[in-house]
Symmetry: C2
Subunit: 173 residues, 2 copies
């Protein structure tokens, strides 16, 4: 075997290994076919909340399209392509400030994907959740959206979104 053939095969293995490694780190799609939104941890904040009723805290993120819609004041309806993500943690008391509640254990990250046509049957949004630090897809099949839609029905007239974008300089209407 020529040395250059050996090199070609070797580089092929290296490439395959790289692909396999990357694939290993991307969580599996949701059972309804929605793909994991890689990199949501670096998205821009829409708001945050403290659910005092169930002792959790949350940060609500938006992708570029969602943030653009907020800046334009056009979020009812949200434009197609908008993704809203909510990261949920168990609440805990801050280590160094007894009067502050902060994120404790990571619970899950859940998302709404806007596409009025594609997701017409579930309020114009695709729904998905990944649970735990290993980000295991939530639910058994497409019916997983039923619980999401049921809970969000009270805000149907706000395009199914509970979150009020936080007041921020440059973003306040």
């Amino acid at each position: 075997m020529h040395f250059r053939h050996y090199l070609a095969i070797l580089s092929g293995f290296v490439a395959l290994t790289a692909v396999a490694t990357a694939a290993h780190h991307v969580p599996k799609p949701s059972p309804n076919g929605i793909k994991f939104p890689v990199g949501y941890q670096d998205w821009t904040v829409i708001s945050m909340s403290h659910r005092v009723d169930n002792k959790t805290v949350r940060v609500i993120y938006g992708n570029d399209q969602a943030i653009k819609a907020i800046k334009a004041g056009k979020t009812n309806p949200w434009p197609n392509g908008s993704i809203i993500g909510k990261v949920v943690w168990k609440e805990k008391v801050a280590e160094d400030w007894a009067g502050a509640i902060v994120p404790g254990k990571f619970v899950h990250a859940e998302f709404m994907f806007k596409d009025a046509k594609k997701y017409a049957k579930t309020g114009g949004w695709g729904w998905a959740r990944w649970t735990g630090l290993d980000q295991k897809p939530h639910g058994k099949d497409a019916s997983l959206a039923d619980a999401c839609v049921a809970c969000h029905t009270p805000v149907k007239n706000k395009d199914w979104v509970f979150t009020e974008p936080a007041m921020l300089p440059g973003r306040h209407k």
Copy 2:
């Protein structure tokens, strides 16, 4: 006057107006000379908190350098160039969920700028705050840092930072 001279003068006015308008939108530097960190609203989240003791909620942001340090688990000390920003709102009850506390009126955005040498006299951090939606610089002169340093002294052994980075997939050590 030649038409091209008229055009040159007109375009000069247009350029000056554009500069003046842009300058208008960037808040003035802090009285201690620290410049306003343009675009912090789009930085990555480090954590959040609900100060139940003073009825405010907060999102804590990091610039790229700060987030890189968190991912590497090297935040004591934080590397020079790190900026940590805290946005503070008055708490309010969510419009559509009685059991949730969310951001109400915007109070201020305050920042710690790490430079161990430049800011050696104030714990290795430069301190600054801009108040209200018009982001007015806080304080009269360089002594504004005194109150910051005094309050942060209990966490001197944590490089003066109260915030514990929130547990997130890909960022948890």
